[in-house]
Amino acid sequence: MNWLDTLVQGLLLGGLYALFAAGLSLVFGVMRLVNLAHGDLIVLAAYLILMITTALGINPFLAALFALPVMFALGWVLQTYLLNRVLGEDILPPLLVTFGLSVVIQNVLLQGFTADSRKLAAGAIESQSLPLGPVTVGVMPLMTLVTAVLVIVVLNQVFYRTALGRAFRATSDDMVTVQLMGIQPQRVFAIATGIALVVATIAALFLGTRSNFDPSIGPARLLYAFEAVIIGGLGSLWGTLAGGLIIGVAQALGAAINPEWQILAGHIAFVAVLLVRPRGLFPRAND
């Protein structure tokens, strides 16, 4: 086994997991909401891109551009008409509602698209690779990782450099006082979930171009994403990226030893990190 190659492939895979996790991390950071339907929403976005690709006969990258505003609107509507109604002290209602949503999305997709696995055809770029020092990396996996880093950078900029980000942080701090600033928490939450689904759409693009997907794969993606978020520390976007990379590397190492151990190795890394650091690697100071 080539250790360096395994490590690099793991980091590249981790980029995908960081993309799965970034939206989840944002939503948790802003409103302490754990969205159990996040994985299924990513899969939904992948089907949306697929539909646009086939309907307009265009490249999935272009199709994703059309999917982004649709998914933003979906997030906005979902938050405004469903999730805002169940957010509160009691964690049970939001958990059960997003769990219900997860089952509904999965089975609606199953009804609409059957259980057959699909793929987004990105063309020649899929098989292209670059020599990078002693290892060779695929162009698509590299793009995934670069995109993940960019997404985290942009989200951080939004979070810490814009009026919207101020509203995100202030609302997360104190939902009542922020209303005295003329800010409606419900609207802030709706925008946050909209952005989370935009990121989910980007994740879906790379998920769908890299591998097959079918309506049932959402919950597994959700688990990887959650592991990344929790390992990184709740509410820290850079932590989420680190968490994604750790899960990716652990899975790649596990797979290198025995292909059946890939997922198991990721889970075990998660458990190991939490046993040592229950609050994750980069916990936010005032939580």
Binding site: A163, R166, A170, D174
Partner: protein, 236 residues
């Protein structure tokens, strides 16, 4: 024309009634103080005016606008800003960001800007990049006042500015009032400190058990009358 008129206002938390038919008038440019002991209903009144606790009866009008059941963000946009009890700064935001968020949804006549707030409280310019909660209590109070001013409100509500602060710090805080008054903002201060209230206010309202028990100009009210209205003891 009266700037803010509160008529027959009642408010309740579930079965507990906290305000009983409160009437308050605020004229343009005026500063009034509402005094009363703990539990007299002062803070509930502030929360009712700002829409955090919706009133159960009566009315709140700002000039000719009825704000009685408007949600809190609408009330800020209409021109009523509050410095809440306990300051309630946003710990994730820096000093400057706390100020900026105050003016995010309303700039009013634009008199109060970051620069003007820094002029009013120079220390806030120095500490602009510190996390808001790293400041001393008095400095935090300055941030809270500045944050409310950033929306250039018609009416500024100050809930218990002096709570938990040393006398010298309280003096420093109230020293900012002349400039605030100059900017044209009318002010309602809620105070437990009667002496401080009498110094800054054009008129006083005394509250007890959810009712206004006395009102008038500080010069016209005797110490005994205020004492009675405050504590509810009779000197018969």
């Amino acid at each position: 024309m009266t700037l803010l008129s509160i008529t027959d206002l009642t408010a309740r938390y579930g079965d507990f009634q906290a305000l009983f038919g409160v009437d308050i008038q605020l004229e343009p440019g005026e500063t009034i103080a509402i005094i009363g002991a703990n539990g007299a209903g002062k803070t509930t009144l502030m929360r009712a005016i700002t829409g955090i606790v919706p009133p159960s009866g009566g009315s709140i009008r700002l000039q000719d606008r009825d704000l009685t059941r408007a949600p809190a963000p609408e009330i800020l946009k209409a021109g009523i800003a509050m410095v809440p009890e306990g300051r309630r700064l946003f710990p994730s935001l820096t000093v400057e960001e706390n100020l900026l968020i105050g003016g995010q949804k309303r700039q009013g006549n634009g008199f109060w800007t970051l620069a003007r707030i820094h002029e009013l409280f120079p220390i806030l310019a120095e500490r602009r990049h510190s996390p808001a909660t790293a400041l001393s209590g008095g400095q935090q109070q300055m941030v809270a006042i500045g944050r409310a001013l950033m929306s250039n409100p018609e009416v500024l509500l100050c809930d218990e500015l002096s709570l938990g602060l040393a006398p010298v710090v309280i003096k420093e805080i109230y020293a900012s009032f002349p400039m605030i008054r100059q900017s044209g903002t009318a002010i309602i201060v809620v105070e437990q400190d009667i002496g401080q209230a009498m110094k800054v206010a054009d008129r006083l309202y005394c509250m007890m058990e959810g009712r206004i028990t006395l009102s008038g100009r500080p010069g016209d009210l005797s110490r005994e009358a205020i004492h009675d209205a405050y504590f509810g003891v009779s000197h018969a």
